[in-house]
Amino acid sequence: MVDTTKNTMIYTTWGTRNAKPVQPLVAAKLISKAKRPLLVVGADVLESDVLSKAIELGKKGMQIAATGHSMQGFKDQDVNAKYINIHFLATYLGDKTWKGLDGLGPYDLLIFLAHKKYYLNQVLSGLKNFTDIKTLAIDRHYFQNADMSFGNLKPDDHLAALDELISNL
């Protein structure tokens, strides 16, 4: 078992509010409890072993918002993935009338995986300050602007943490 809450070292701060570090089990529970979770997967997924984990997560029934060109990784996989630009996604999420990628209504939990740290932290900064949507980062960096996040992890530990998370869904 990996302790995903240990290293929350940050380089700069946006303000006084920082993400709560979570363990994989807690993250799994959060996801399980969510009614409309959305897994947002960035293009970094294509450069690592994380892709298979993302697909596994998708196969658990979660809808995937594939940002950047991560769609490449979900082609012909049996997952519900749709492309959307992450900045657009964040914009639409701020609009209470938006019906989601599938037209079925708003999401109650966003789970982020495989993003550029500086970029996602900005997107999360917008969501944190201007929406009520809960956000969870299960990436290998500590995303301080999420509501909850894994800490900074080594690649292997990260994969192990994702495995633990998936096995608890």
Partner: protein, 804 residues
């Protein structure tokens, strides 16, 4: 009644007196009238002059804020925590504060360009006089941005002074609103930011047309010469004189001195950033070989200095690292500052003799000098370089570690991760260190391209490894191969070119203009830029570049060893690659769009901003890409494009500009315009889908570009071409057919020819459209009709009166 105009006059009853009349009240309108041109409704608009237009833009493209900081520290009531969009002590909330912060970046950028313009204009008037004519090439429309915004049609350098004064006045009004207790509405701050962006293009235009007119720069020349570019092309066996900055005014004196003294072959003159570009433009209107070599953009500054190659560094203004003097001192490189904007605390030696200064600097008595006298500068810099080279050689000054030291240093790494945490791109430095210990430098070579040489890693290493130097040393092989070509900036697009290409642009048969501009803060290295340009050029887009992008693009070669500049011609035609020039040349990109409206569409542009912006937004498929945008100038340039209706995509770092302008394609009511023929509402495609946004990767970027070149005015051929590229690029780079492609189909002939049948099937099956399979025609389904004679407009007053 005798008419008076500006200029110089002698009057009989005033013997020996020559009066220079600078301004006459109502002169703009009078002059325009004389020339048979009607002045539009908004010459020299004030802060609220184009607010209604801005509100139209902002109602479709709403600001989206991604704060870089949740706090405000403007005044001593604070600092205030605005987190969760709370109000601070002055009542401002986080969203409004972000719009204010964005405005501040825009006017800072606009001021940088315009203050540069004021400086070089003042300088050139001092030499050439106010009556020196503006000459930018085969154009009657010299200054499209200036004429559009101010209503002034400048003919001489002197005419430009009034233009700069207007920009200064307006920028000060905008700066004043940054003060605590001014604007309280985010939308009005956004309108002010758009105003600032517009002013930026005027300021840039003044800067560039002044220097083009006076410094022998190429004048709309598609055959402007090719310059050498890249760290690998610098010959450091000669004395190296390195110039850094954006304002070539003083540097021309160095170049002239070298020419006069026959030093061109004896000194290696190299430039960084836009001064470098303008050095390659200086006196090359005859297509002669540029006398200076270009090192590259800001991301090469620290690497170039750390290489210890420069014997003297001369800096002017903008995009110069703050630590140049400190870094240079360590390597015994004297630094000369030449501009009031950057003085580095150095003694002002402007009134001393060259000999005195050279003595004090070469002896190390002073680490550098401030020289504001350009004649003196012209002499001191080259002479000092000649003198320093042997001195520095004798001292054996070097900065980069030896091969031996490299191994020791990389072995010292304890894999703590501090460097990766502080790296702006979180680059995998630890892995590269490990590989290097085993003699594998390829990871460092890859890092070198991704690394922007900011140096944040160095001070945090607990083992004091000079990380940046390690990267540079380990990448020596690839650095030596960094040799390319860049076409010297050609300046504006000429009137005849517009006449030839305008129709293709408006009808869409040229699939679009991709303007690749801005800085080098790339998420994944400079090669991405080459990849994008190459792809789009092969697809017949017009690719226009400037500044950093123009430089970086020249660093790469295709399989045949050619740079894109060598491969593609530089006319304003589909499939051409055009380098307009330095940062201030960006005004020619917007200028081109304005020229299309004026020359091709015969619209009156004089003081007629709204109509022209409306025209451009609805008809010209241009997309700006500032993939490595880092600076406030890039924010200003982009925002100026936005006010003209030109969408801009920035790289992921651009999210740190704090706000984007993004539309909502799912809100149908947002995507309607009037048909100016009768004032009826008509639906339009949701393109451009945004005015400013970010993309994550170039693979995502390319189909975004293609899609957002779609315009309501496309004819069926044009729409077919654009749609083809959108679909193909999505499939090639994203691995999928885009979801929304069908929304852009009005009629079967809009469909890509090769896939028409396949796509008709999808339309029938997935979207329920009715197809007449015999005639292969769409019977029902599209929400829009093809009507090439429709006149889409967002501005009610431009509709025929009958209906509106």
């Amino acid at each position: 009644m005798t008419k008076i105009s500006t200029g110089k006059f002698s009057l009989e009853d005033l013997e020996n007196v020559q009066i220079t009349i600078n301004n006459i009240v109502g002169a703009i309108e009078t002059k325009a009238e004389e020339e048979g041109i009607e002045t539009g409704p908004t010459p020299k608009p004030g802060v609220s002059g184009l607010r209604e237009w801005d509100y139209k833009l902002l109602s479709r493209y709403q600001p989206v804020y991604t704060p870089v900081c949740d706090q405000c520290c403007y005044c001593t009531y604070g600092k205030c925590d605005l987190g969760g969009n709370k109000e601070g002590a002055c009542g401002i909330d986080l969203g409004t504060h972000q719009s204010r912060e964005f405005l501040l970046r825009v006017i800072t950028g606009a001021a940088a360009h315009s203050a540069h313009g004021r400086h070089i204009l003042h300088h050139l008037i001092g030499i050439h006089g106010k009556d020196h004519p503006i000459d930018v090439g085969p154009s009657n429309l010299f200054a499209p941005n200036t004429q559009l915004v101010t209503g002034i049609m400048p003919k001489t350098l002197g005419d430009l002074e009034e233009v700069v004064a207007y920009v200064e006045e307006q920028l000060m009004q905008l700066l004043s609103t940054i003060h605590v207790g001014q604007e309280g509405s985010a939308l009005d701050f956004e309108s002010k930011a758009l105003h600032g962006g517009m002013l930026d293009h005027v300021g840039m235009e003044v800067s560039d047309i002044a220097q083009i007119s006076c410094l022998g720069m190429p004048k709309s020349d598609p055959e402007a010469p090719l310059a050498e570019i890249g760290m690998g092309c610098i010959d450091s066996t000669k004395p190296v004189l390195l110039v850094i900055g954006h304002n070539v005014a003083g540097i021309t004196y160095i170049m002239d001195y070298m020419e006069e003294q026959g030093l061109n072959d004896k000194i290696e003159l190299a430039g960084l950033c836009c001064t470098a570009i303008d050095m390659t433009r200086y006196k090359t209107e005859d297509r002669s070989q540029p006398r200076a070599k270009v090192v590259g953009p800001m991301a090469k500054e620290l690497k170039m200095i750390r290489s210890a190659a420069p014997d003297v560094i001369v800096v002017d203004e903008q995009c110069v690292r703050a630590d140049v003097l400190d870094e240079a001192k360590k390597l015994f490189i004297p630094v000369i500052t030449t501009n009031e904007k950057i003085m580095y605390g150095l003694s002002n030696r402007s009134n001393d003799t060259a000999d005195q200064i050279i003595e004090d600097l070469s002896s190390g008595k002073e680490p550098g000098a401030l020289i504001l006298n350009f004649d003196l500068l012209g002499e001191v810099a080259p002479r000092l370089a000649m003198k320093m080279a042997p001195i520095r050689d004798a001292k054996g000054i070097k900065s980069l570690p030896s091969d031996e030291e490299l191994r020791t240093l990389t072995s010292a790494c304890v894999q703590c991760g501090a460097c990766e945490l502080v790296c702006p791109n979180n680059l995998p430095i630890m892995n590269a260190m490990v590989a290097a210990v085993d003699g594998d430098l390829t990871k460092f070579e890859k890092l070198h391209d991704h690394c922007i040489a900011c140096g944040r890693c160095d001070p945090v290493c607990p083992k004091d490894i000079p990380i940046l130097n390690v990267i540079e040393k380990a990448a020596q092989k690839v650095i030596r191969e960094e040799k390319g070509k860049m076409r010297a900036g050609r300046g504006q697009i000429s009137d005849p070119e517009i006449r030839e290409e305008g129709v293709n642009l408006v009808m869409g048969t040229t699939p679009g203009i991709v303007a690749m501009v801005g800085c080098s803060n790339y998420p994944e290295g400079t090669k991405d830029l080459f990849t994008v340009a190459n792809e789009m050029l092969q697809r017949n887009y017009i690719v226009v570049v400037s500044g950093c992008s123009a430089m970086d693009l020249g660093m790469y070669k295709d399989e045949e060893g050619q740079t894109l500049y060598e491969k593609y011609p530089a006319k304003f035609l589909a499939g051409n690659l055009i380098n307009v020039g330095s940062c201030v040349s960006n005004s020619h990109i917007t200028g081109t769009a304005i020229k299309v409206a004026s020359i091709f569409a015969q619209r009156n542009i004089t003081g007629n901003f709204e109509e022209i912006a409306d025209y451009i937004m609805n008809r010209i498929g241009a997309v700006g890409v500032a993939w490595g945008a880092y600076s406030q100038k890039a924010a200003a340039i982009g925002t100026g494009c936005n006010r003209l209706g030109i969408p801009v995509i920035v790289g992921p770092h651009g999210s740190k500009y704090r706000r984007a302008l993004i539309g909502k394609p799912y809100n149908e009511e947002d995507w309607k315009v009037y048909d100016a023929r009768n004032g009826e509402e008509m639906p339009i495609p949701s393109s451009p889908e945004f005015l400013l946004t970010t993309a994550e990767t170039i693979e995502e970027l390319m189909p975004m570009i293609a899609k957002n070149c779609i315009r309501p005015s496309d004819n069926n051929m044009g729409r077919m071409i654009k749609l083809t590229h959108y679909i193909e690029l999505s499939q090639k780079y994203m691995g999928h057919m885009p979801e929304d492609w069908y929304k852009f189909v009005r009629i079967e002939t809009d469909l890509p020819l090769a896939k028409r049948e396949e796509l008709l099937k999808i339309l029938e099956k997935e979207h329920g459209w009715e197809i007449d399979w015999k005639r292969k025609k769409i019977i029902s389904g599209p929400t829009m009709k093809l009507d090439v004679s429709a006149q889409p407009t967002n501005v009610k007053r431009l509709c025929k009166e009958s209906v509106c």
